[in-house]
Structures are given as structure tokens and as C-alpha cells.
Amino acid sequence: MDAVHPSAWAFVVVALGGALLSVSLRNILHAIFGLALALFGIAGLFLYLGSPFVAAMEVLIYVGGISVAMVFAVMLAYSLGKKEGGSTRRFLAVVPVGGFFGVVGYALLRASFAVTSKTGSWDLKLVGRKLLLDYNVVFEALSVVLLLAIVGAIIIARRDEKTGDDKTADEKAASKGNDAASAEERAS
């Protein structure tokens, strides 16, 4: 069975709808909600693709962590007043995007893949063993990346002492969110 249950199309609609919303809506907050919606759709698709754990992680980190962080960032960078999108120069962007879509799309359609029928076993143990046996170097590297990101984010976003206000709540949340995600992975 080289196809997935047709009900997946529902999640496709949610995903694409969310993405369209986040692109077209002028207000940045609405854009972030659109993104969150799209991420839900994508998580659903992951389920259909036989990896529920990844879908869970997607919901947890992406929707929970990153989108929330963006909302807090928007609250800090409060410049809603600015007019949005619009100018013809924006319209020019369609050329590269359309071109990309056409060229790669055509190549995708023409490409033929040796589709193998598989029962979609998502055996988590297999993923865990491979993660810690084959990709142990990469795993450690990821932890270094996260350390780097946290320390960097704090230092950059920290207001200089001379301006006096302390770190915003959002920053703490954002970094805690990341710690949570990496902790969970290590746990599984």
C-alpha cells in the first residue's frame, strides 16, 4: 500500500490554510497564529507518515515553544502601527518563488521513486538506539548547539547595565522551553 489514508488531506488543508493565513494577514500576531495553525496541520501529517513521536515533539516544541517565544518577541518589538506589505516591489517576490515552485515541482513530478510498501512500524526503540549508537557525535553536537544558543541569546538580548531594566520574562520562558525539549529527547 503505497498511499496513506485519504483523510490526510484534511491536515494538508489545515497546514496550507495556516501557512496562507500567516503569509497574507497584515498584523504580525495573526501571522504567528497562522503559523501555529500550519504547524498543527504538519504535526498531523507526521502522524500519517508513521512517526507519532515526532508529531508530538513538533507540537510540543514548535507550537509550544517557538510560537510562544515569537509572541513574546512581538510584544517586546511593539511596532504594530507600521503599515504592512502592499508596495509593488513586494509583488516582485512572486517571480523567484513561482520560479522555484515551477522548476522543483516539475523535477519532482518527473522523478520516479522506488516506492517500497512498509507497515509504517514506528518502533521508538529503534529510533532511540540508532540515535545513541550511530549518531552519538551529532547528538552531543546538538547539545553544544543548544548551549551556545541559550548563552548567546541571553547575552545579546540583555539590556546593557546602563539602561537598567532586567531581562524580560519572555527570554526566560524561551530558554526554559528549549531546555525542556532537549531534556525530553535525552529521556526517551
Partner: protein, 470 residues
């Protein structure tokens, strides 16, 4: 030390150093001297270990993912040596935010670790993660600038970088789909001449990320703004260490590519970069921005080596990457000494340098001559190898264009020499080179002049390393 750990030595040293720096930075009243000292220690240790393991071969941890051989160790040696140079000149970081001066070495160390892993990676995921690790280190390093334009540069750099890494990832996914696995060995097997077009598109998109790091034409936009905005020492890091890392990974991929289309693509990129880089540099007065454009031009020269698709070409690229890194460090020894007040050095601020500090003037002169490819320096023999590699493939007109481009380049290089030796110093302050600055400068100067006169040892190493690729 067990063999596996020894092979992973250089990275471990830097990681250990980073840990120490991190711990020192969260102490009660952290002193930047301490963190700087530890970082220096770590980088010297890394140099030592890479020297030790230069001729080792093996695959610590999982065989498919991480390969250690002469190629990777030679590049790691280069990376750690250049890192030493950069850290030596970043004792006091005037252009970095006072609060961030303590932590700055951490990012340099971690970014170098990323590059070291990038060079040894023989598996797509490892390559991608280490690429991202080194990139994030750089984003943060650029953002540490004390000047407002630093944050603008960082914003542009991070967003442009993020987009290109997204494109790379998408390309990676296409390659994963067509090849069926992430191992580069299988990938090189699939990359036969008439390969599946989707695979070729995947490879091209993946290359986007690498070209971004090399600052080659379509992805060079970030370089001028980042070089101008970032703190001087960080720019030195980008110009030398980051570029050498990129040279390594692109060499690994180029070794896999079949000739034909990709060669013509590389030639197009090379000519575009040489032209754009050299021409735009003509109009610059800010020295760091000038060095940025010349970096784009030098990426173009490197592409000559890749376009040759031959072992000599790859050897020439490795050789030239090392030399270019050394000359960037040498140049930034002087530029950071000039930019003590955090301001960017310009043609005016460098005028009369020969009186303000003859040693600095000499160092800058040698750096300029290396970048311009003038004989006594290794820049000349480096260009000689690159052009020879290109000519081996019969690219007569390409080499002519490259030679013409380097003549145009000579114009703005000589403008700097003119400013240094000709313009009167007026009332500009004397330029003080601290002991560590001169140490780094003289080491780089020695390296560049020695290999300019007697290139054989480094060239043999580069040739052996290139033979191991692909």
C-alpha cells in the same frame, strides 16, 4: 589516551576550553583576562593535538559518520592555528559590548568545534548540524558588537543565513530521497554523470548553504555588511577560520561531483565572484568592507580550483585556503590595532602608518601583497597552483579573466599601500602593537613568507590530503 579519544582530540580540547570559559564566565565577577587565557590555552592544545594526529587515520565513533584522515587533520591544524591567531589579537575587545567581553571567546571556540566536525563529517546530517553549530556561533559573535550598526549587520546575517540553511536543508531532503541514505559514500556513488536531475537539484540547493559560508556570488550579500558591522576580531575569525572550514567541506563535495554541468556552473560562479568582488572593492574606503569584497573575489579564485575537478585543483584550494586565512589574520592584526577605539579603520585612519608603527605597516604590506598575489609572499604561489589547476582542464580564457581580475584588484590594494606609506600621519596617534598582537602577526608573516619562498612541504601535504578525498 585511547586511540578513539586521541583522534577526536582537537575537538575535545576546544570543547574543554569552551566549558572552562563558560564556567569562568558565570563566576561572581568574571574577568575577561581569565577567559581569554583559557581560550588561548585550549587553542594551543588543539594545535598540538592536530599536529600529533596529523598522519593518523581512523573513524572514531561510528565509521560512516566521522572520518579522521590527513585531509581532516590538516584542516583542523589550520583551523586551530588560525583560531590561535584570532584569539591572540582579541585580548581586549574594544568593539565588543563591555558586558559580552567575558563570553566572546566561548563563541569562537564553539564555532571552531563546529567547523572541525564539519571537516570530518562524512554523513549529511553530521555535516548539517556542524554547519549550523559554526553558523550560530558566528551569528552571535557578529551580534556582540558595541555599535548599533553591529545589530543591524547581525540581523541581516542571521536571517540571510537562516534562509540559506533552510534551502540547504530542503536540498538535503531531496538528496536523502533520491539516494536513500545520508552517507556521503553512497551519495558519491549516485553522483555519476547522467545522474537523476532531482538529485542534481538537491545537490545544488544543498550547495547554497556552503556557498553562503564561502561568500560566493549569489550568497555573498551578507559579507560586506557583516564585515563592516561586526567587531574587528570577529571579522578576523569569519575571514580566516570560517572560510577555511567552508573550503574543507566544499572540497569534500567537489571531489564527488562529476565534471560536465557542475564544472560550467562553478566557472560561472567563479567569474561572477571575481568580477563583482574586485570591482565593488574599487569603490570602498572602509577597510573592513574592502576586505569583505576582496574575500568575495578570493572565493572566486578558490572556485577556479574546484572548477578544475582534479586532485591538483583540490590540493591548490587547500593550500590557498591556508594562505588566505593566514593573510586575513595578518591584516586584522593591524586593523584591530588601528580600530582600538571601536571605530572601523578607513583609508584616512590608516594614513601615515609607516611612521606611526613601522612593524604594523610592514605586516599590512605583506598581508596586502599576499592578497594581491605578489611573489615573495605565498599568495603568488597559491594563485600559481590555482591557475595551473584550472589550466590543466584547458580553461585558458578563464585563467586570463582571473589574472585580469587580480590586476584590477591590485589597484585597490595599492591604494591601501599608498595610504600607509605616502599620506602624512598628521596628528594621528601612534599605533601600539601589544606583545600578543606582534606574536600573532609575526607568526602569520613568517608562515606567509616562508611558504612563499619554499612552498614544497605544505604543497606535498595538500596533495596527499586531496588524494584522500572522493
Amino acid at each position: 589516551m585511547p586511540k578513539d579519544l586521541l583522534l577526536f582530540g582537537p575537538e575535545l580540547m576546544l570543547l574543554g576550553g569552551a566549558l572552562l570559559v563558560f564556567i569562568a564566565s558565570i563566576a561572581k565577577e568574571p574577568k575577561s583576562e581569565a577567559t581569554w587565557g583559557m581560550a588561548l590555552l585550549a587553542s594551543f592544545a588543539a594545535v598540538g593535538l592536530s599536529l600529533l594526529t596529523l598522519h593518523e587515520r581512523g573513524a572514531p565513533f561510528f565509521p560512516g559518520i566521522y572520518r579522521v584522515d590527513l585531509f581532516s587533520q590538516l584542516l583542523k591544524l589550520g583551523l586551530s592555528a588560525l583560531l590561535c591567531g584570532v584569539i591572540l589579537i582579541s585580548r581586549n575587545l574594544p568593539s565588543v559590548r563591555p558586558s559580552a567581553r567575558v563570553d566572546a571567546p566561548l563563541f569562537l571556540l564553539l564555532s571552531t568545534v563546529g567547523m572541525m566536525m564539519l571537516v570530518s563529517a562524512t554523513e549529511l546530517l553530521t555535516m548539517y548540524v556542524s554547519l549550523e553549530l559554526s553558523a550560530y556561533g558566528l551569528y552571535i559573535a557578529v551580534a556582540l558588537s558595541s555599535k548599533p550598526r553591529g545589530s543591524e549587520a547581525a540581523a541581516k546575517y542571521v536571517l540571510f543565513g537562516a534562509t540559506s540553511s533552510a534551502i540547504t536543508l530542503y536540498g538535503l531532503s531531496l538528496v536523502y530521497g533520491t539516494v536513500g541514505s545520508t552517507s556521503m559514500v553512497k551519495l558519491s556513488g549516485a553522483l555519476v554523470a547522467g545522474a537523476d536531475p532531482l538529485l542534481m537539484i538537491g545537490m545544488l540547493l544543498m550547495f547554497a548553504g556552503l556557498l553562503f559560508k564561502l561568500a560566493l556570488v549569489p550568497f555573498h550579500y551578507w559579507a560586506p555588511d557583516a564585515y563592516e558591522g561586526a567587531p574587528h576580531q570577529m571579522v578576523a575569525f569569519i575571514a580566516s577560520v570560517s572560510k577555511l572550514g567552508a573550503v574543507g567541506i566544499v572540497a569534500r563535495f567537489a571531489a564527488m561531483l562529476p565534471g560536465g554541468d557542475s564544472a560550467t556552473l562553478f566557472i560561472a560562479l567563479s567569474v561572477a565572484s571575481m568580477a563583482l568582488g574586485n570591482l565593488a572593492a574599487l569603490a570602498q574606503t572602509d577597510l573592513k568592507r574592502l576586505i569583505a569584497y576582496s574575500a568575495v573575489a578570493h572565493a572566486g579564485y578558490l572556485m577556479l580550483g574546484y572548477a578544475a575537478m582534479s586532485k591538483t585543483g583540490l590540493a591548490a584550494v587547500i593550500f590557498y585556503g591556508m594562505i588566505y586565512g593566514a593573510s586575513s589574520v595578518l591584516a586584522f592584526v593591524v586593523l584591530s590595532a588601528l580600530g582600538r577605539d571601536g571605530e572601523n579603520p578607513t583609508m584616512e585612519s590608516i594614513s601615515g602608518l609607516y611612521q606611526r608603527s613601522p612593524l604594523a605597516a610592514l605586516m599590512m604590506l605583506v598581508a596586502i601583497f599576499t592578497l594581491a598575489g605578489i611573489p615573495p609572499t605565498a599568495g603568488f604561489i597559491g594563485k600559481w597552483y590555482l591557475f595551473a589547476a584550472a589550466l590543466q582542464r584547458g580553461q585558458f580564457w578563464l585563467v586570463l579573466v582571473a589574472a585580469a581580475a587580480s590586476t584590477v584588484a591590485l589597484y585597490y590594494y595599492l591604494q591601501v599601500v599608498k595610504a600607509m606609506y605616502l599620506a602624512p600621519p598628521e596628528d594621528r596617534p601612534r599605533v601600539e602593537l601589544t606583545f600578543t598582537d606582534s606574536l600573532a602577526g609575526l607568526a602569520a608573516l613568517g608562515f606567509v613568507i616562508f611558504y612563499g619562498v619554499y612552498p614544497a612541504p605544505l604543497w606535498e601535504l595538500a596533495q596527499k590530503a586531496a588524494a584522500l578525498l572522493g
